[in-house]
């Protein structure tokens, strides 16, 4: 995944960038399966490698395929990013080590969900039970966000393209 990201940074052809983005999504889905997050992995593979790539390719069809070269060398962004990375790495020193069961993130709510989900909601998939029942309000918010995004895209792209010649306007008006 690291190599893919470096490739995306270096590539100038936008089609290559989109394809590498799809590869990156598939690799992320594989890593998520290794991390035992099967629901998340299925969603990431479908959404990241499927819908995102299709939409990016559709937009690429409408705009140019190459990226213009940068006009100034990006020294300041590089320094800012390195500083941010350093601060984050310094922050991760205190985080619990990978794979242990004793950290605070696994202590309070999660054992309650694991023990009680089956007999309170009659569904072995704990993630679905939590998503739809214990945290159903968040899922309602999420469905509303998807709805809003769909409406937003329809509003933005519903108007017909404005042309310069008159016959195209007539053709667009009549069609």
């Amino acid at each position: 995944m690291v190599v893919t990201v470096i490739g995306i940074i270096r590539a100038h052809n936008l089609f290559a960038v989109v394809m590498l983005g799809g590869v990156y999504s598939f690799l992320m889905a594989t890593v998520l399966v290794i991390l035992d997050a099967v629901d998340v992995s299925m969603t990431e593979a479908a959404v990241g490698a499927g819908i995102s790539s299709v939409l990016l390719l559709a937009v690429l069809h409408l705009v140019r395929m190459r990226e213009a070269p940068l006009r100034h060398t990006p020294v300041i962004p590089m320094i800012v990013c390195l500083l941010t990375g350093g601060a984050l790495v310094y922050g991760t020193v205190d985080l619990p080590p990978f794979g242990e069961a004793g950290g605070p993130q696994n202590q309070h709510v999660a054992p309650y969900y694991i023990e009680n989900a089956e007999h309170e909601t009659h569904s072995p998939n704990i993630v679905t039970a939590v998503l739809a029942s214990y945290r159903g309000y968040d899922t309602l918010g999420e469905v509303t966000v998807i709805f809003t995004a769909g409406i937003g895209v329809l509003v933005l792209l519903a108007a017909r393209r404005r042309r310069e010649d008159d016959e195209d306007e007539q053709k667009g008006g009549a069609a």
């Binding site: 479908a46 499927g50 559709a58 792209l157 519903a158 393209r161």
Partner: protein, 155 residues
């Protein structure tokens, strides 16, 4: 949109029902295995998008007309919120599914099924509507470009 695609056409015609059945399987087995509304919605939308990519967007618009899609987008949100309000009307809190069945456990299970169905409807119709919007722009751009080229080549 694409020309020498006989292999793709045959394969897509074979794959399309398999993808739709897989989407329904993932939806209804979201309780017993990985899955649920979001994955199923995206897979179902991906099936129609695949059909639209190979056979052209007018053909996909014949299969799932845009008016149906525009009705389905808010319908899923309504189903979800309606289940919550049903719980409110039957005596418990908002989005509490316990009063929907004879025992609270059955109520929760029924509530989860209905809610996931609402999620499926909204997610699939939104993804499809976004694809129709982008693809419609691309078709208009293609048609305008061809008309311009014909105009330049003919005159």
């Amino acid at each position: 949109m694409m020309r020498d695609t006989i292999i793709l056409r045959v394969v897509v015609k074979l794959l399309l029902p398999a993808i739709l059945i897989f989407a329904l399987y993932v939806q209804f087995h979201g309780d017993y295995g990985p899955g649920g509304g979001f994955q199923a919605g995206v897979a179902a939308a991906a099936a129609i998008i695949l059909y639209g990519m190979i056979f052209g967007i007018p053909a996909a618009k014949q299969v799932v007309p845009p008016s149906v899609v525009f009705v389905m987008i808010p319908l899923g949100v309504l189903i979800y919120a309606g289940t919550g309000v049903a719980g409110l009307l039957l005596g418990d809190n908002f989005l509490d599914y316990s009063p929907l069945g004879s025992k609270p456990v059955y109520g929760q299970h029924l509530g989860i099924l209905i809610v996931e169905f609402g999620v499926l409807v909204t997610v699939s119709s939104t993804m499809l509507a976004i694809f129709y919007a982008f693809g419609g722009r691309a078709d208009e751009a293609d048609a305008a470009e061809e008309a311009r080229k014909d105009g330049e080549g003919g005159s």
